[in-house]
């Protein structure tokens, strides 16, 4: 199932598509300050964020203020601007054997579930996958990941609760290499980005992995809760300062959340979104595509009427 149809489905559920509403406002045809302000509000309502919303409406203001445009023309301007703001992720290729992926994020963002789903995806592609229980802090996080490992048929590496996550990561690298794995996914404990000691712990995990092999980890993925508001930007910025993030995973987009935060991050930080999480089932993770995302948001609205 493509991202387009999933988003379409999600939006159809509530019949509250962002642009469906915008279409309502556009009824008058003339681009006025009042209309721009209403547009802004609707974009903000989708958590597009203050900065990115203003960027989108500014594009309209510059090109069309005072003019009478058709709805299609106005939507086209918005679409072009969104297209300019977003980054299409470069194709995902395994860069080594094993290809090591470290998964990080704040508490409750959906890291462990995402790893379960990713393991399933790679398995389905015929890869040998290992997952490592690097969240040694939260009660029963290890067991939670173990359940996902069993579901997806991935190899599983763990230590005791409370042990050093860097040691888990190191062991995973070693074991994964020895067992000939193609992909190693390493879980970490959730941490708020403003806790310096926890960020330092994470930096240590990366340092220790690099000791094993300079190229590790090939990917550092930040998992973001699609319901999170403006804090998304802070989170991404601070994590990105500590480790160059190679991609984002936006989760929980199966509700009414529209994940507009994606636009904010993309416009400010230029980090590609890799995957989108859509539910609790193991196959509900789809690759992100910029075109499909924009189509899903904009065209769906047009089709709904």
């Amino acid at each position: 199932m493509g991202l387009f149809s999933v988003i379409k489905q999600g939006l159809a559920k509530t019949r509250a598509a962002l642009l469906g509403e915008i279409k309502g406002i556009l009824g008058t045809g003339k681009v006025t300050d009042e209309l721009l302000e209403q547009l802004e509000e609707h974009l903000i309502r989708a958590d597009v964020g203050v900065e990115a919303s203003f960027a989108l409406t500014d594009a309209l203001r510059e090109n069309a203020l005072g003019k009478s445009l058709s709805q299609d023309q106005i939507l086209q301007i918005l679409r072009n601007e969104a297209n300019r703001l977003l980054v299409d992720p470069p194709p995902f290729v395994l860069q080594g054997k094993p290809h090591v992926i470290l998964v990080i994020g704040v508490n409750g963002a959906g890291k462990t579930t995402t790893i379960g789903k990713l393991a399933h995806r790679f398995k389905a592609e015929g890869k040998k996958v290992m997952v490592a229980a690097g969240d040694t802090f939260r009660a029963a996080a290890i067991e939670q990941l173990e359940a996902w490992a069993q579901r997806s048929g991935a190899e599983f590496v763990r230590h005791q609760e409370g042990s050093d996550p860097a040691a888990v990561a190191y062991d995973a690298c070693e074991a994964g290499k020895a067992r000939g794995c193609d992909v190693i996914l390493i879980d970490t404990a959730g941490r708020l980005h403003n806790k310096e000691h926890l960020m330092e712990e994470l930096r240590k995990v990366v340092r220790v992995m690099r000791k094993h092999d300079e190229s590790y980890p090939h990917d550092i993925l930040l998992v973001i809760d699609g319901n999170t508001g403006q804090n998304t930007i802070n989170q991404t910025k601070v994590f990105h300062q500590s480790f160059p993030l190679s991609g984002l995973v936006v989760t929980k987009l199966d509700g009414t959340a529209r994940g507009g935060s994606v636009l904010s991050i993309a416009s400010q930080l230029k980090i590609p979104i890799r995957w989108v999480g859509m539910g609790e089932k193991i196959d509900q993770l789809v690759p992100f595509s910029k075109t499909e995302y924009i189509d899903g948001l904009f065209e769906n609205a047009m089709e709904q009427e």
Partner: protein, 456 residues
């Protein structure tokens, strides 16, 4: 009030002084600033619109006060309005119904229900002398039951579970178990669910109707964005929840959702989660939240923490010693320990207005440990008379504290600098420049002429 909002309002309103009343024209720009600030704090757009409207009504026609700047004046109006909407004073759920009193947790996935259930159990057991039971009714998320069991064990609160059974039955049986075993409170942990998941929402309704909990607490992530309203509204319609818990308040979010949820549902926020450890739970203070949404820092919490840690007599003593230039390494050490008692430095800085924007990576807690170690390795005589500490003593202190001679030198240097600063300060105090009770900025500053007259 050193806030970003105040600053931007100041620059917008700087020409207002002496204009008499605030008019529609001269506050329009200011209100746009307010709107933007609210949206950036994740306050729902509709709530923001209503709020700005009501503030506008209150602001218009007010005299521009002479004692404060117009920006401060507007921020004060906004602050008071915020406090009022969020419920005035702190409220805690009343748990004096017929035992066992039921508390049901509900919310989205990853909002922090299980952790909150554990925190609440510990809070009730240790602070309210209750005998709670936890019921593990999240049968969907892998290892959620195990998580609650581990938490329960760590705080000596029993956990009732039936493995992966039917959640409604588990909750019903949990209630009966609590009744039979003399628990006066029973806390039901439920699975996270999306508000649009009809099947799971129905399940929660059935569970509620089976045990009629006294409190239903909706747990929301403090970082939640505009979605907060959709989610809270549906949960409220379906379950009539009685209160709200905000998790992850130790982050750097401004937490506008607190305002949105309150405004949409009318239900108070009762508890906030302030850390990953189970004792890190606090009752909700609208006053502090208002400051936070406005980006003003949480001075009240800071003062409270300081009051808990600082002994008044010690403080007076220390002031006297500083004034008399007697500040020695003993005082340095006891100061250090007081600060440590108040909690992590980073958390404290977060509470101070203006300082909460500082990138906290710069502050190294380990450094404090080293300083304390070095100080502890000195003899009381050396601490009272730092001049005694020569080269060979420095070597001994370095070895004893597991630090280096450089570190010890650094500590002594720091001490000298502090002492120097204090000397200057006490010099100023002796001259009696700032007088106690006069808050510069509250008027005096703006009327220098009047001031001079007053001083005869």
């Amino acid at each position: 009030m050193f806030t970003q909002l105040t600053d931007s309002l100041e620059s917008t309103l700087k020409n207002l002084r002496g204009q008499g009343k605030l008019s529609e024209d001269n506050v329009a720009e200011a209100l746009r600033e307010v709107r933007r600030s609210f949206l950036e704090a994740d306050v729902n757009f509709a709530v923001t619109r209503d709020f700005v409207k009501s503030v506008k009504e209150k602001v218009l026609g007010q005299d521009v006060l002479l004692s404060v700047t117009p920006g401060q004046q507007i921020v004060k109006i906004i602050h008071d309005e915020l406090v009022e909407i969020m419920g005035g004073t702190a409220k805690e759920p009343r748990l004096d119904g017929r035992a066992p009193v039921g508390i049901m947790m509900c919310g989205l996935q990853g909002s922090g229900k299980t952790t909150f259930a554990g925190k609440l159990a510990l809070f009730l057991r240790s602070k309210r002398k209750k005998n709670p039971l936890l019921v593990a009714a999240d049968v969907y998320r892998p290892a959620a039951i195990k998580q609650l069991q581990v938490l329960g064990k760590s705080i000596q609160v029993p956990v009732y579970d039936e493995g992966q059974g039917n959640p409604v039955d588990i909750i019903k049986h949990g209630y009966e178990y609590a009744k039979a075993h003399g628990h006066d409170v029973v806390i039901y942990d439920t699975a996270g669910r999306l508000q649009v998941d009809e099947e799971l929402m129905r399940e929660l309704e059935l569970a509620r109707d089976a045990v009629h909990p006294d409190e239903i607490l909706f747990v929301a992530d403090a970082m939640i964005g505009q979605e907060a309203v959709n989610v809270a509204e549906t949960f409220y319609k379906r379950l009539n929840f009685t209160g709200v818990c905000l998790s992850k308040m130790d982050g750097d979010t401004r937490g506008g959702a607190a305002l949105s949820i309150r405004k949409i549902t009318g239900k108070p926020v009762v508890f906030i989660g302030t850390g990953e450890k189970l004792h890190e739970i606090d009752v909700f203070h609208p006053e502090r939240m208002a400051s936070r949404i406005l980006g003003m820092g949480d001075v009240v919490s800071l003062v409270e923490k300081a009051q808990l840690a600082i002994d008044e007599k010690d403080a007076k003593n220390l002031t006297k010693r500083i004034m008399n230039n007697q500040f020695d390494l003993e005082d340095f050490l006891s100061q250090l320990r007081t600060i440590k008692k108040m909690g992590a430095i980073k958390d404290l800085l977060g509470l101070i207005p203006g300082l909460n924007k500082i990138p906290l990576g710069d502050i190294n807690e380990k450094d404090m440990v080293h300083v304390e170690a070095a100080l502890s390795s000195m003899t009381p005589r050396e601490r009272k008379n730092p001049r005694l500490i020569d080269g060979s003593r420095r070597k001994r202190i370095a070895a004893g504290s597991g630090t280096s001679v450089q570190k010890v030198n650094q500590v002594l240097q720091q001490y000298e600098q502090m002492k120097d600063m204090m000397k200057k300060m006490s010099g100023m105090m002796h001259k009696g420049m700032p007088q106690a009770g006069v808050n510069p900025g509250q008027g005096e500053k703006f009327h220098p002429k009047k001031d001079k007259k007053k001083k005869r």
